[in-house]
Subunit: 344 residues, 2 copies
């Protein structure tokens, strides 16, 4: 008979309006059998090790239909990207002991009924937590967005918003490796320092200290922007549109400044798409999963050679997860926000 253990879970109380609060989530303890049920084929049961806090999760706290990811179910454990160890499997491609990353539960143990979009971890000579970020969804997002959407060329002028976040810090480094001129915006002096001193950006600024974003961008890009990697939306996007170069590209990855508003801000300067013949393209990493191994082949050596820097903001213990997630929307995290559930 399978061992039954207690299973702490992070549960969403109810759908959220405005800025999320820690108290929108609660810790619940249930029990789970450490075995895939008999009637459950092609499933795995995992012990969760690291969880990823990502901005897109805000959308899931809202009751939505037809979005690209499902809403959370109030009363049930939140789901998100994470790193886990397989405890039991009824799937031929996964076996007990394997490490995986992908969509799992915010709980100690999860039964994962669909292994679609789950990747086996084959390289363990880097910190496992990296698979919540630089080697997981965020890294692959940065890679796909920059190389597949931005059509970057050496010498181009690249602007990245929310640049010290998990995706932004990598996009900036990819752009520098290609020989672009790279400027990032972030929301604190510490983050700006990181961009300039740790991630090698050519320049960076604190958007909160810029009353006129258009003027700020003109200062950093007197000749205009070729590529904008969009993570924030709203006023920043409007200012960027005024400063794009002809045939510029905007890769739309996220719009975190809008996620907690009931009505998104209006963007007024879209006519610049025509006058400057700009391509503005939304994307999501799961359209590029077929490139994951190509991405790893590029990024793993760069990490090992010290040519890519990466900063994690680690929260210890599942109980810290609600605070860590909520912190994203206040810009509290510095670097990739990770929650450690267990170091095994």
């Amino acid at each position: 008979m399978a061992e039954e253990v207690s299973n702490k879970q992070i549960v969403l109380r109810d759908y959220v309006k405005g800025f999320p609060k820690e108290s929108d989530m609660t810790v619940k303890t249930s029990t789970i059998k450490l075995k895939v049920p008999e009637d459950c084929s092609d499933a795995i049961l995992v012990k969760n090790l690291y969880l990823s806090c990502d901005p897109y999760m805000r959308g899931r706290m809202r009751k939505t239909e037809g979005s690209y990811v499902d809403s959370f179910t109030p009363g049930s454990a939140i789901t998100g990207y994470g790193v886990a160890r397989i405890v039991d499997s009824s799937h031929p491609n996964f076996k007990k002991g394997d490490l995986v990353w992908g969509m799992t539960g915010w709980e100690e143990y999860s039964l994962i009924r669909s292994t679609q979009g789950l990747f086996k971890i084959q390289h363990t000579d880097v910190p496992l937590s990296y698979y919540t970020g630089i080697l997981g969804m965020a890294g692959h997002t940065a890679y796909s967005g920059f190389y597949e959407v931005c059509s970057p060329k050496k010498g181009e002028f690249v602007f990245i918003s929310a640049a010290s976040g998990a995706v932004g810090q990598l996009v900036g480094q990819f752009a520098k490796l290609l020989g672009c001129y790279v400027v990032g915006s972030a929301g604190s002096k510490d983050k700006v320092d990181l961009l300039k001193n740790k991630f090698g950006f050519d320049d960076a600024f604190n958007y909160k200290e810029e009353p006129d974003l258009n003027a700020a961008l003109k200062r950093y890009f007197p000749d205009g922007i070729d590529i904008y990697f969009e993570n924030v939306g709203g006023k920043m996007l409007d200012a960027v549109l005024l400063n794009m170069k002809v045939h510029g590209r905007i890769a739309v990855c996220g719009m975190i400044s809008q996620y907690n508003l009931e009505q998104p801000e209006g963007v007024h300067n879209l006519f610049n798409l025509i006058t400057k013949r700009i391509r503005m393209q939304g994307f999501a990493v799961f359209d590029y999963y077929h490139l994951y191994h190509k991405f790893l082949d590029m990024v793993l050596p760069l990490i090992k050679q010290g040519k890519l820097n990466y900063i994690e903001d680690i929260a210890e213990g599942l109980e810290s997860a609600p605070g860590a997630l909520v912190g994203l929307f206040y810009g509290r995290n510095v670097g990739k926000q990770v929650v450690v559930v267990s170091r095994e």
Copy 2:
């Protein structure tokens, strides 16, 4: 000695705010020598035959810098696309008697100092006025935007705003020829009837009679829109964003609803670019001039075989030009607005 003749001109009095009025322009009569001046190499002197009224001209009535076309010069003749006969030439590639289309003056005779972007008319077995529209800038815009920007595929669902205009009517017919399902919006019952009965659209609606554009689009596209050919901007764009399909494309050709506003309306639903991974791309025909002959090779036979319909709204005489141009912004024209300066 060269003959000197009187030269009626349409002159912009001053830069325009809000909706343009006929009285923003005036008729002025000056004189011109029917010869390219001695010191003017690579220039031509033309007699203007047909002039094209185009929505983009509204932007030129405003003092702007760094746009994709220059502002008009108050006090001088307006410039725009037209069809003309060469009276004299100092350019080796153009000779007296040649017919050309391209940028010329709103006047009886024009000295054209730069022949860049001027096309010699080689096929005269179609009405000459067609080179202000279906065989000129508007037709080439429709062709470039649809085939080069929209990445259309047979069976896709296509929505076109300002669909009875010079560009829209052609985009819809191109889409039908490819086997797409095509719906257009326009601003009167007559235009809607034209779309359905003359241009072969699958359906069409009068946006002025739709208090809820989102609901209207859901009615015409219950499964969503693959391709939106954007001519109007503003509220229509916002409604379309809610109704796009995953991996949809938006070709941004114009935003006529915004041209007379001091501050453009805000567009709120851009987050859909991400959730549906939409490509939204501005374009301008002059980036595709190298495809002009390929375009003609496709379109001329279709016109001669009666497979492309085309409607012109003809204003007689240069004096009618201000009213014809202003009419565009009130949706007065039905089909391509042309001004006849001279039938020779």
